[in-house]
């Protein structure tokens, strides 16, 4: 067998100068540009200022949907972007979370604040049970299996009308906290914002930890990670469950915010939409995921004016962006900026 040069080898041989001494603390300037400090700061700033631009309920709805999608996508990015495991079925977990909240509150009188964690727990257990056999698969076989899980969930939600209301979906009552109904964009904006900020913070922490390196490592060279002591199956299962739970939480939030759920939230295309958000913004980039979620939530709204043509344009944009920027928006832009910087220096 021929010796295969590692991919990426010989592309840029130039030694890179390093800016940060290792084992030391970062300077304030470097912290400003780091993801955890600078990135989180920017995110909080954007979230805090955005309401100044929102003038009506519709705009609040779009902003909140962005936030809900972003929660799913940040989680999915851990699985797809960092650990390199494809899932074409995460809308199923999103929908299960939504229906858990809807069913537990309407049919069993549980409070929404309890229904959400209950749903998340249920989805977590389900994800844990199917993760082991599913994650033995790789590549397109994994894509098929996750797709299958999503489709099965979709069909069950659609058919079990006695419980789920069937294809027409079901209403979800307004949550009340201490007698105050949680209703309207202004309230939900801040609820979703808080959950999103927490999610991003947890995700950034996880990525920059031994677990995060194990996930990236098993993506980059699975045998090498195994040999280094990484129980790759364990970590694949772990990140699968985490991403499913985040999808479930987002689903619950969506159910309570929109006060309505339909089986279509579990559809194959909803799953594809989530994955597209991950890839659009840039795989293995949490802030890329946020940008992807925001753009692809906004896009259909902008296209709504092109009555009839919105599908065509959406499909075209998906293809174009992926052809021109196969690595996604943020990594491509960062790469361009770096190259410009390097050229300027030399």
């Amino acid at each position: 067998m021929a010796t295969i040069k590692p991919s990426g080898y010989s592309k840029h041989r130039k030694k890179q100068t390093y800016t940060r001494r290792l084992g030391t603390r970062a300077t304030p300037m470097q912290m400003l540009f780091s993801e955890r400090v600078g990135g989180m700061g920017a995110l909080i700033l954007v979230i805090a200022c955005l309401p100044l631009l929102l003038s009506n309920n519709y705009q609040y709805d779009v902003a909140i949907t962005m936030g809900i999608n972003a929660i799913v996508v940040v989680g999915l990015n851990l699985l797809v972007g960092y650990a390199g495991q494809v899932s074409l079925g995460h809308a199923g977990f999103f929908a299960l979370g939504a229906y858990a909240s809807a069913i537990l509150t309407t049919r069993y009188g549980l409070h929404g604040a309890l229904a959400l964690p209950a749903g998340a727990l249920g989805v977590g257990v389900l994800a844990y049970l199917i993760a082991r056999p599913i994650l033995r698969l790789s590549g397109h076989y994994l894509a098929m299996a996750t797709l299958g899980v999503g489709v099965i969930i979709h069909i069950v939600l659609d058919r079990e009308a006695w419980l789920t209301g069937g294809p027409d979906g079901m209403y979800v009552p307004t949550i009340e906290v201490a007698g105050v109904p949680l209703y309207g964009g202004a309230i939900w904006y801040w609820i979703v914002a808080a959950v999103l900020i927490l999610t991003v913070w947890l995700a950034l922490n996880l990525i920059d930890s031994p677990i995060g390196r194990a996930l990236r490592g098993l993506h980059g060279a699975e045998v090498a990670a195994e040999v280094a002591g990484v129980d790759t199956t364990h970590y694949k299962v772990m990140v699968f469950v985490i991403s499913a739970v985040l999808a479930s939480v987002a689903g619950s939030l969506s159910a309570h915010f929109s006060e309505f759920v339909t089986p279509d939230s579990a559809s194959f295309f909803h799953s594809i939409l989530f994955v597209t958000m991950v890839v659009f913004g840039g795989m293995a980039s949490t802030f890329g995921a946020l940008i992807g979620a925001a753009l692809l939530t906004l896009l259909p709204q902008l296209l709504a004016d092109f009555s009839g043509y919105e599908q065509m344009i959406l499909g075209l944009i998906m293809m174009l962006v992926m052809i021109v920027m196969p690595r996604g928006l943020l990594p491509t832009l960062v790469g361009l900026a770096r190259r410009r910087q390097r050229e300027a220096r030399s």
Binding site: Y141, M144, V223
Partner: protein, 294 residues
Amino acid sequence: MPPVLVELLQFLFSGLASGAIYALVALGFALIYNASHIINFAQGEFVMLGGMVTWVLLSQGIDLPLAILGAVAVTMVAGLALEKLAIERARDANVVTLIIITVGAGIFLRGLTSVTLGKDLHALPAFSGNAPIDIAGATLMPQSLWILGVTAAIVVALHVFFHYTVVGKAILAASHNPLAARLVGINVNVVLLLSFGLSALLGAVAGILIAPITATHFEVGIMLGLKGFAAAILGGLGSGPGAIVGGLLLGVIESLGAGYISSDYKDAIAFVVILGVLFLMPRGLFGKRGTERV
């Protein structure tokens, strides 16, 4: 024959007919996968285009055989364009990116069809009437015979093409070892283009054959595409015989499941079976096994 057996035979007939359709779609997946390791999620849209374009040509007063030829041609143009304009420019992208490109292409084709041909449901006339044929008490529609016959003919034609023609052998060679194929002068891009054209043809034929039974619609390709993918995976990705067996098996299991268990869950059964098989055989029924070299 006892009614129980007649019923079983009936389920088998309908299962084999839809299974043959799945097999054709699965063969389309396998062809493109072999040439490029890409899963073409727009495969279902080829099926849809076949049916829809045949319908629109028929409605313009064109004869059925000519309409079919026209529909196949239009679908093949779509397949070739997809390869030339999108896939060829993104060959080096990773699996997920390529999936999104083909899904995007599918959305685009659906949108294009709904804008130009409308969103209504259309039935094609059966090729040779609707007089049911009685076999041991079970009925078989002439269209089912058409499906089985045409599928069998295509399978034979593909076999001859891949094993006895220079072009077919070149495609096979390129799928086994692209680098070696390039070294002996096979143009891998042309092979890729051919495989998309051929897959589009298979999809269109499947769509035309099934349209008299299930009617056609701009979204009919979604489920058929997913089932075809499932059949290809069931047989083992990239295996021609696997795709055929996977398709037929899926059709029969689905039909039996719908008949004996629950017709509500007809579509789910296929995916439950797929998951079960993958859990036991992670590379499908006929997929390549082997130890990864380290």
